[in-house]
Every structure is written in structure tokens, then in C-alpha cells.
Symmetry: C2
Subunit: 304 residues, 2 copies
């Protein structure tokens, strides 16, 4: 960005600043002195303290809806779990949280303990935190921006996570306030995994997800391509449903690592509806191999 533009933007930010960092969409571009105080007040220090027992935090970013963010978040946590790690999936979807269904715990509720809500354990050492484990399905709330932000603050501050090696965050579609709020409230996020489907539209959104991750100083671990190919169960031939190669193209364009592909397969979606991540009981699936590989890359990156 050239200096004039930067200066103009900075002036613009300055004039418009209402000292409400929590609701500011220009947070990551802002370098005004008053921003420094944001980290020192309100929920941030409390959230930081509460998350001290969580060693690493990985966010799955996709931008576009329906590209498989929740699928990847749940299975990435399962892959890390399979490698002997203590994990927690933090579901940031409020409209319709899908993670409890995908983890087979949709009929359970988080209980209230002495220090806050206690995550539901899908398996020993595999925790799940979701609004779907607080509200009943029939409690239909229209979530507005502020309610979501406050709910996220509460989830970060008043949930008793206990010892967790890897927290995997699943967020809703878009590159707007939900994404930014999570990244603001967890300023020490360890890495992001980008997911895209091959279509151009999805690549464009994923590109913005990479931008946001960089703006927030969260290292991009790489990109996974979902629904890249379909192997016909009738004849065994691979057939492109969407175009393919979009994930690799994005990786090249953005200078990030390509982590592998997840071919479209009916087992991927049925396992999600049935409540067991495919990584756990379908190791022969191409999708499982890809996600386990991503988990290994993450473990190598953070533990050696």
C-alpha cells in the first residue's frame, strides 16, 4: 500500500474512532494508540487467563459457506486425537451449530461447574463446546452481531477447558464480524487451516480468509481442497463434480502450502450425520488420509 493511501486511511480511522474496539471492523488495520488499551480491559485478559491450559489453538477458515469447515474442524481434531493428543472443538456457529450432531453428542448438554460450563466429552480427552450444547434445538434465536460476540466472549472466559493440547475452532461462513471477533478475542491463535472447494467463487472467498489471517498475524498452515473429485461407486471411475485443482491454484497464488485434497464421497457426509468423524473409524478413506496428514504437519510444526 502506498504511503499516501496509508496516511489517508489512518486519518479516516482516526476521525471515525469511537473507542469501541470490540465492534470495530478496522481493528487489524488500526495502529492508533487507544487500541493498546483494548487488550488490557474487558474480557480479553480474563479469556487469556482462562485459556492458559489450552496449549495450541488452530482455526479453520473457509470464507464461503458449505465448503466443509465443520467437517474439517471435527475431523482434524479427531486426527490429532488419534495421534494421542487431548483435543477440544470450539464451535463458533450460533445459527445452527452442526458440530454436536457431527460428534454424536447432540442429545447432551454442557453442565455448570464451579468455574463455568464444562465441555461435553465425546470420547475421553475429546471435548466439544458449542451453543448446540447449551440451547435446545427448539429454542430458535435470531442471533444479531452483538449477541454472537458476547456469546463468544463467554465461551472463551467461562468454560472450564482443562488440559487441552489442541483446540480446533470452527467458525461460520463469511469474512465479516464473526471471523474478526474470534481473532480479536484470541490474539495468540497459533495457526489457521484454510479450506476451499475448487470453484472460483470459493477460491476468491478463501483468498480473503488468508488475508484476514495474515492481518491478524495468525500463521497460515496451508490450504485443503474439499470435494475435489468424485469416485463413482457404480463404476469406480473418478469424475469431477466441480472443477478440480482450485486448492493448489490458491496455494500457489497466495504463497501458502497445499495440504491435500478430500474427494467427494458419500461416506464423508453420512459419517457426519451419523455422528462419528470418518478419521476415527474409516481409516481407508482418502479423506481420512488427507486429514491425518494435516494433523501430522501440525504436530511437526508445533512440537519439534
Amino acid at each position: 500500500m502506498d504511503d499516501n493511501l496509508r496516511e489517508l486511511q489512518s486519518i479516516n480511522i482516526d476521525l471515525a474512532c469511537d473507542y469501541d474496539c470490540a465492534n470495530c471492523e478496522r481493528y487489524f488495520q488500526c495502529d492508533l494508540p487507544q487500541k493498546a488499551s483494548f487488550g488490557k480491559r474487558g474480557f480479553l485478559p480474563k479469556a487469556k487467563k482462562n485459556l492458559e491450559t489450552v496449549k495450541r489453538k488452530i482455526i479453520v477458515l473457509g470464507g464461503k459457506g458449505g465448503v466443509g469447515k465443520s467437517m474439517l474442524a471435527v475431523n482434524l481434531a479427531a486426527a490429532l486425537y488419534k495421534r494421542g493428543k487431548k483435543v477440544c472443538v470450539l464451535d463458533q456457529n450460533y445459527d445452527v451449530p452442526a458440530v454436536p450432531l457431527m460428534m454424536g453428542v447432540a442429545d447432551q448438554k454442557m453442565k455448570v461447574g464451579p468455574k463455568g460450563l464444562i465441555p461435553v466429552e465425546a470420547y475421553p480427552g475429546f471435548k466439544v463446546v458449542s451453543m448446540g450444547l447449551v440451547l435446545d434445538e427448539s429454542q430458535f434465536i435470531i442471533w444479531f452481531h452483538d449477541s454472537k460476540r458476547v456469546a463468544t466472549e463467554e465461551f472463551l472466559t467461562y468454560v472450564e477447558y482443562g488440559d487441552v493440547d489442541y483446540m480446533v475452532l470452527d467458525i461460520p461462513a463469511g469474512t465479516s464480524s464473526e471471523t474478526v471477533n474470534v481473532l480479536k478475542l484470541i490474539p495468540d491463535m497459533d495457526g489457521s487451516v484454510i479450506i476451499t472447494i475448487p470453484s472460483e467463487v470459493s477460491q476468491n472467498v478463501a483468498e480473503r480468509a488468508v488475508f484476514i489471517s495474515r492481518q491478524a498475524n495468525v500463521p497460515v498452515i496451508g490450504v485443503v481442497e474439499n470435494m475435489s473429485m468424485f469416485v463413482c461407486p457404480e463404476c469406480g471411475e473418478p469424475a469431477a463434480i466441480l472443477q478440480s485443482g482450485g486448492g493448489e491454484a490458491l496455494a500457489k497464488r497466495m504463497g501458502i502450502d497445499f495440504l491435500g485434497s478430500i474427494p467427494a464421497n458419500v461416506r464423508v457426509s453420512t459419517t457426519l450425520d451419523q455422528g462419528t468423524p470418518f478419521v476415527l473409524n474409516e481409516p481407508e478413506l482418502e479423506a481420512s488420509k488427507t486429514v491425518l496428514n494435516v494433523a501430522d504437519i501440525i504436530i511437526r510444526r508445533f512440537e519439534t
Copy 2:
């Protein structure tokens, strides 16, 4: 809802009312007297006047991301256009507006006329209004709740639509503020078309879309199932990618009409990236037949 609960909620609303209807997520449940003034001030009367030349307004609701809302919006407009109607697609996606790409007008911009922005015409009598026709792709804005609402107000008030038989609205994923804001700002929406994919998660979200449509007094025209089946181009056999029958199940459960299925087909996604709705140049596709049928149902409903 029983009377006690209703009373409690009403008390709750009353206590919490800050007279800011534009930002209230309980708008449709609210029956406080102060709500009446919302329609009389601000943008609403101006938007209503500006939309006088638009005969019918149909909103595509899906809830979940990636189920094909933009695909259906663009092709439903194309189907109505094919039946001789003047149409306009109003794209309410701000993060990454896909409609300009899908309509082949991504390189164009809306011009400023004497009464406001002038829609881009993809074909004579087929208009497109989108934030993607205002901003350049490189202008990456993080949209916060209020900015989106204000942008929608501007689109409804300061765009010169001219004579339009059917406006088709495409909105982003979720059943939150974006959806509610559009329904608040167009209180005389003529109907909604629900779209779902077969998965249980998508059905759950679509169910909430039906609830919101009913809360807002927008008649539900029916539900379309997308990605219901995949015909292998290698062997010609149909193979379920996801489960199938979810659209019909939802229709039955919610007491709404089932309008048909759109089988997964690589032509559906390539035509979207290539910028011509499949309804216009691939009449033999099953998808085209389904969407033309929905258009005919809409025309019969509103014009006889």
C-alpha cells in the same frame, strides 16, 4: 406458545427495548406500540417508494451456506426472464458477491444516474444489482453488521430499478441479522423459495429459514432440493453423493410444497463460473427443467 411464556417474553422485550428497531433481533416477535413508528421514519418509506416500479419480490432462503442459494436466485431470475418477464437479481452478499460472476458481468460497474445507481443489464431486461458491481475485487472490506444493513438500505433506496416484473433476492448464509434486515426493510416481500441439500444439518437450517419467513409474514412458495443426486458421466448411473429425499422430508414436516430437485452435475457449477445461467442455454439439463417449473409455479401463483 402458552400465554405465560408470551407474557414473559413481552415483558422481557419491553424492558430491553431501546427503541432501535433497525438493530433489533426480536423485531418480528415484537408487538410493542413503539414498533409502529419504525415503518414511518428513516429509510423504510423511501425504500417503499423507490421499489414501486418493482411488481413482485421473491427471496431465496436457504440458511446454510453452500447449498446453492446464488445458483437458484440467478437461475430462477433467468427462468422468469425466459418466460418473458423483466427481472432483477438483487445480490445481498457483501463478503464476496458471487452473482456478478455467475451472470457474466463481473467486469462491469453500476453507473450513477440522476436518481441513484443504475443496475447493470446482463441482457436487455435482465438487471443485476450487487456490491460486486460497486467495489473492485481488490477492495477488501471487512463488513460489520451495521455496514451491511446500511448498504442494504442504500441498495433499496438509491438504485433506479425501473420497470421490473420480478426481483429475486439472494442473501448470505445464516438465519441472523442479514436475513432479518432484508425482511424488515422490504415488509411487502411477495414470497420465499427455500433451498436445501439433503443433509440433516441443511434441513435443520432450512427449517429455521421457513420459521423466519413465516414470522415475517412472507408466504413460503416451497422448497427446492439441490445436489440431490449425481449422474456419473462415465457410466451414466445415478449415485447419491449426499443422502437424498431431504427436500421432500422438509416439505412434509413444515407443511410446504416440494418444488423439485436439482441433481448435482458438473454443468451446473461450470455454467456458474462461466457466467451464463444454465436455464438460458442448457434447457435439456434436469436442473433447468426444475427451475423453469418453479418459475411457472410462481407466475401461476401471482398472475392468475
